[in-house]
């Protein structure tokens, strides 16, 4: 594959995009996991599906939309969904998790309507659902680079604020942080990461790359910075192993990346067990 990467542009695209999301998904995932928002990430990815479906439908019906990259509408829906979730969480203050099934089923429901309106789609949709090694275009890659730059910059700049918000919301309010604005920025970043990651891992499996490497890192890491660094390392290993096996075995990369992540997770759980037994 190494040789092939230099030969074929589509492989370069997939590989570079994979390396980038291998950084941003676990980076943000670390905050998502500790804030117990994993399921919200899942719900958002389903909203992204309806955006993708809407875009595919538009380009099928109107010639003018033919060149439109579905990622744009996917991203738009995802960001809108993240803002909508916040509204819902405020409406149902005591049942905040209700926002998840509402958004999740809403996303799939609207997506399915678009899909049936278009009399079903070709393999394109399949690649959005489970990722693809061959479908990442140059324009996808550029968009993913843009998303990665924004996400990494924001998380670095706001690291200490995000840390405090995640660790102790009451204390961060008491120390005068604008927690509402911070949380909103956080949700929008999450939506961006989801939109950026789905080309490689697929809509249905996006949240796995945000949570599984973090779950593995949390078993063995000391402190939050170490958790983030290890999560990114595990994320990269999963993406690289997943892309290689997807390419050679002709499988959807979403599946192989998730299976690699689970293997890493099991190894880290076993390692921790072994470590405590030795003590």
């Amino acid at each position: 594959m190494i040789e092939a990467i230099f030969q074929y542009q589509f492989l370069q695209n997939a590989f570079l995009a994979g390396l980038l999301i291998g950084v941003i998904a676990p980076l943000l995932g670390a905050f998502i996991v500790v804030r117990r928002l994993s399921l919200i990430a899942d719900a958002l990815s389903h909203v992204t599906l309806s955006g993708i479906a809407a875009s595919l439908l538009l380009s099928k019906t109107f010639v003018a939309f033919n060149g439109l990259n579905p990622l744009w509408l996917g991203m738009g829906f995802s960001v809108a969904g993240s803002l909508f979730i916040e509204r819902l969480r405020n409406v149902y203050k005591h049942y905040q998790e209700l926002a998840i099934p509402i958004i999740l089923s809403g996303g799939i429901g609207i997506g399915v309507i678009f899909i049936s309106l278009a009399d079903g789609f070709n393999t394109d949709l399949f690649s959005y659902l489970f990722g693809s090694v061959s479908a990442v275009s140059r324009s996808d890659l550029y968009l993913i680079i843009g998303i990665a730059v924004v996400v990494i910059a924001l998380v670095t700049i706001l690291y200490k604020e995000l840390f405090l918000l995640s660790f102790d919301e009451e204390f961060s309010k008491a120390s005068g942080l604008q927690t509402g604005a911070l949380h909103l920025i956080f949700m929008v970043i999450t939506a961006l990461v989801i939109a950026g990651s789905m080309r490689i891992v697929g809509i249905l499996l996006v949240s796995s790359l945000m949570t599984l490497p973090v779950a593995a890192a949390m078993r063995v890491a000391r402190g939050f910075k170490q958790t983030i660094i290890l999560s990114v390392v595990f994320g990269e290993i999963a993406v690289i192993a997943g892309l290689f096996s997807a390419f050679y075995l002709d499988l959807a990369p979403g599946g192989t990346i998730v299976v690699s992540s689970i293997l890493i997770l099991l190894t880290s759980i076993a390692f921790k067990k072994w470590q405590t037994m030795r003590k």
Binding site: K160, F163, S166, D168, E169, F171, S175, G176, F224
Partner: protein
């Protein structure tokens, strides 16, 4: 300026339930005030009003002589909450990282808490005697140790006031005394004004300089010595019967200075 915190005719209610009525309270610099009162007496609500987490329905809160709405220097106020309902025990952060997070506001937006802050962070960890646990994850510590870490987080930014909401809940009896000794040291050696909410009246009166008894209204506010004299009557009144006979105390009580 002698009053660090001042409440003027402050009232608060949740929906229909009146929690605080006409509270007048002045907390002079350098004092160690214990606020006691039964469950539901409005103690935590009062702290939330002081911290700006809630807005009073009537009256006004002043911090360092400024009305709360205009107050910006939050790094002057350290806050230690009731541990149980605030933080997430499984959080993978080291003691060092937790204490460093206390510098968030002081460091300012777009800047990092870097190596320059290290001595300051280590000093705060030393002050609470947790230096041997610096690289341990917070979740691995006992309740008492965690509470000490939260104090370190609150004092790392060199606050002038430290506000503690029932900090000894979940700390075993043996460690409670050590804990109060540590607070005493912070008050006397570092000159930090302390505001401590508790329902543990026995322990506080030998460390605090002032006491305020709260049960929706302020029943007593004065020096610790005065409190010792009225303590028994006060406490029996507290949990029921006739509370009106002491009402005049709060009118005059807040004028008592150390």
């Amino acid at each position: 300026m002698t009053n660090v915190i001042e409440l003027q005719n402050v009232s608060y209610r949740y929906d229909k339930e009146q929690v605080l009525t006409d509270i007048n309270l002045e907390i002079p610099k350098g004092s160690f005030l214990g606020i006691v009162g039964p469950n539901g007496s409005g103690k935590s609500t009062m702290l939330k009003l002081i911290l700006g987490l809630l807005k009073p329905k009537n009256g006004e809160v002043f911090l360092f002589g400024e009305p709360l709405a205009k107050f910006k220097a939050w790094e002057k106020i350290g806050y230690v909450s009731q541990k149980a309902n605030s933080f997430n025990t499984g959080f993978p952060a080291t003691v060092y990282e937790v204490v460093a997070s206390g510098l968030t506001k002081k460091t300012g937006l777009f800047k990092m808490i870097g190596r320059k802050s290290r001595p300051q962070i280590e000093r705060a960890i030393h002050a609470v005697g947790m230096e041997d646990f610096m690289t341990r994850n917070i979740g691995e510590l006992s309740g008492g140790q965690q509470q000490r870490v939260f104090i370190a987080r609150a004092i790392v930014s060199d606050p002038d006031v430290l506000i503690l909401d029932e900090p000894t809940v979940g700390v075993d009896v043996k460690n409670v005394q050590t804990f109060y000794n540590m607070l005493d040291r912070l008050n006397k050696e570092l000159g930090i004004t302390l505001l401590l909410v508790t329902h543990d009246t026995g322990t506080i009166s030998n460390k605090v300089t002032h006491v305020a008894c709260l049960n929706n209204t302020l029943h007593f506010h004065g020096s610790a010595e005065d409190f010792d004299q009225v303590k028994d009557d006060e406490l029996s009144l507290f949990y029921g019967h006739d509370v009106h006979s002491l009402h005049h105390d709060h009118d005059h009580g807040h004028e008592v200075t150390p």
